[in-house]
């Protein structure tokens, strides 16, 4: 009986949390389309999400491209398919690795910062101060971050696509002795626009997911340093799970039978 009641309590709490996130996300999304728009804040967050995350995303994409090229070479030599490396690197990077890695890295860098910043604002009454100034916190704090995340993530992923493919190219031509011309030809010939577009759409969705979880956990963080710390952890964990779940859904949507 006790086990059942505990199970019931957890189930209800989980459902309540899901409902709460859904309402928050809906309100956040709604506030993106209703004036006033805080352009200065939008620009500030675009710089944070896009510009400052670029080095870490570029580095991750480059290593991802290099690793795939190496792994594919080792695997493909077993059945004489080394020639497909350029194509595999291209598809892996554009469809999956660039958007997912960028999403996870930006979550670690920006999602956690969003939760910590908004959580600190909650603790130090800054959110209440916004309300008393007649400013809707959803419009001032959440909407600019959502807009910045949704717009800047595809840019980041597009650059990550190029750098990731370059990483594969670099390893293939310098370490694995592929000819530069044939690698480039193979890459260009097998480049399909849907591969790139699907990755960019995924990036936008991941940006939205990361920002929403970051804002939600910051907004409802418990008071005190511990509360803010927990909010940050929860935001990162929830965003990462959300990104991977969304990745599956979007992959099924784009390429599923």
């Amino acid at each position: 009986m006790k086990l059942l009641s505990t199970l019931g309590r957890y189930s209800l709490a989980t459902l309540q949390e899901i409902g709460s996130v859904a309402i928050f996300t809906f309100n956040g999304l709604k506030s993106c389309f209703i004036p006033p728009f805080y352009f200065k804040e939008i620009w500030r967050h675009m710089v944070i999400v896009g510009f400052y995350s670029l080095p870490i995303v570029a580095l991750t994409a480059m290593f991802a491209g290099m690793i795939i090229a190496l792994q594919c070479y080792v695997g493909f030599t077993r059945f004489n398919a080394e020639g497909a490396i350029a194509t595999v690197v291209l598809i892996c990077i554009t469809r999956e690795l660039a958007p997912v890695f960028a999403g996870l890295m930006v979550t670690g860098r920006v999602g956690s910062a969003i939760a910590a910043e908004i959580g600190s604002m909650r603790v130090s009454d800054q959110i209440d101060a916004l309300t008393t100034l007649g400013v809707d916190p959803m419009k001032f704090l959440v909407a600019p971050r959502i807009i910045a995340g949704v717009i800047m993530m595809p840019f980041l992923v597009f650059i990550a696509d190029i750098i990731g493919v370059m990483g594969g190219f670099l390893i293939s031509t310098t370490v694995l002795n592929f000819s530069v011309g044939s690698y480039i030809t193979q890459t260009v010939q097998n480049l399909e626009i849907i591969d790139v577009i699907s990755g960019l759409v995924k990036a936008s969705c991941f940006g939205f997911c990361m920002v929403c979880f970051g804002c939600y956990h910051g907004f409802y963080s418990d008071l005190g340093a511990r509360g803010v710390g927990n909010a940050t952890t929860s935001a990162v964990v929830a965003s990462c799970i959300g990104i991977l779940a969304l990745d599956y859904l979007l992959t099924a949507l784009f390429f599923g039978k």
């Binding site: 009454d125 209440d128 309300t131 008393t132 400013v135």
Partner: protein, 247 residues
Amino acid sequence: MSKIEFKNVRKVFEGGLSVLNGVNLSIENGESHIILGQSGCGKSVLMKCLLGIFKLSEGDIIVDDLSVNDREHRKEYVKKFSVLFQGNALFDSMTIIENVEFGANQVCKDKIKCKEIAKEKLLAVGLEERVFNLYPAEISGGMQKRAALARAISLSPEILLFDEPTSGLDPITGGIICNLLKDTVKSLGVTSITITHDLKVAEFLSDRVSVLNKGVLTWTGHADDMKNCGNAFVEHFYKASNIILKK
């Protein structure tokens, strides 16, 4: 006619924690009212209920015929207030002048005029121009308090709320801030509510004092009458505040 009327205000949080247990209070226009009480007695909750940040569990608060429960006229209601928060609540990502400009921008859409208002208010609270472009973390607690006051008055409010205005300040700075608050309220001619546990602040700033104990207003009157008011808790509070600790 009273400016603010608390009618049987109750606040019970999730989990059944009852913080306000039927607060009734009437505050006149232009009055400087003090809510006095021990830490954790519900003073800040009462303020957040007044601002509509916390939803009332029961009762109503009426400000100039507008109810805190009336969500349709929420903007009109909130515009009547300005708050000086206990921790100042200055926005970390903005400089001092941007903080005040942001406040002024809510009542005036002309950016140049907003900047002028911000400068004027910052100078009025005694801040020098050299700190205008610093961030809140780069200035002292007393300066932050002044900046927060400048932001509060930049909104041209009808009611000023001060939450523990001297907490965390040394006695000299606390005294300066108290004088500044008194002068500001007087010069603007606004109604003010100060929430504090400091009897000296209450005596200095108040027209009337209300004492809150365990979520109930136990006494309302003039600060001078507290000593012999006949209410055991209020007299105990008064005496405890005047105890001089001996070695």
